[in-house]
């Protein structure tokens, strides 16, 4: 079953996933994907994590303009609403 979508649950899952993926430096809401050395393929993988965990589908157009981790969290929460 999908996990309930709250800012906290999404944040904790995404932070953990980014660390597991080997993000460079500290993962915070403000960190940009560029600083974290997260590339476009990593974002595809992150979208898959979101779909598997929360049942929220993110398309290419959704993720292509994301700059920071916080924006990604907010997007997932908004899409689930």
């Amino acid at each position: 079953m999908a996990t309930a979508v709250t800012t906290e649950s999404v944040e904790s899952k995404l932070f953990a996933a980014l660390k597991e993926m080997g993000a460079e430096g500290e993962v915070t809401r403000e960190a940009t994907f560029e600083q974290l050395d997260v590339d476009s393929l990593d974002l595809v993988e992150l979208a898959q994590v979101v779909e598997d965990e929360f049942g929220v589908e993110l398309g290419g157009d959704d993720v292509k303009d994301l700059q920071t981790v916080g924006e990604a969290v907010d997007l997932v929460v908004a899409k689930a609403a």
């Binding site: 993926m21 080997g22 993000a23 460079e24 050395d37 997260v38 590339d39 393929l41 990593d42 595809v44 993988e45 979208a47 898959q48 994590v49 779909e51 598997d52």
Partner: protein
Amino acid sequence: MAERGNGGGAKPETAERPRGCALVTGASRGIGAASARALAREGWPTVVNYRSDASGADRVAAEIADAGGRALALQADVSDPDRVKGLFASAEAELGPVLCLVNNAGMRADGLSPQITDEQWRAVLDANLDGAFHTTRAALGGMLRARFGRIVNIASVVGPRANPGQANYAASKAGLIGMTRTVAAEVARRGVTVNAVAPGLVETKLTEDVAGNGLLERIPARRAGTPEEVAACVRFLASTDAAYVTGTTLTVDGGMSA
């Protein structure tokens, strides 16, 4: 990401492969059935997909089970993206993530190009090319997460080379090879390989009407291939031994295009 050392790519694989299943499209007979049997023998729980031939698919699944393997027959027309979503959802619920995908479903609708109808053109492109895209798209997320994946596309020697009367088929297979190479380059650093197998003339229902026609004279081996000979190539490309083989096309044609 830079951290992984080794140029940012996935580490060289060991003989271990993560838990998951194989899915072979159009596996109710012919090359797809032989591929499903071969992958099941390698220990893959295997989804035997079919479009209309339920009894054929059930027979293949039963053969796999009789040989001690695990198989599940699942109906879906791969040209329909929604049906492909459903196919993956069922496969994953029953057998785990699809970590090996064989895009084998295919058809012909021959005619000289001035005579190919819109319907014949679309049907062949939809099944042979769009179908493989739909399944590839559905499979890649899980493969990326697993840092392991094998996609094998059954193309043809027709496509890279001409075959009068098959403009639609040739376009679909050349397109499939183009897709193979580009997707391979996109995902190689995650331990996912994407390759094509290009058979020449293989004895199946698809070719039962063409084997006569003096075609054997053009094959150096002087015989048609068997589905099992194509499946052996699929099995290799799907194996951990083939971890460094990606974006390529393995021709299996008895020397026809040598």
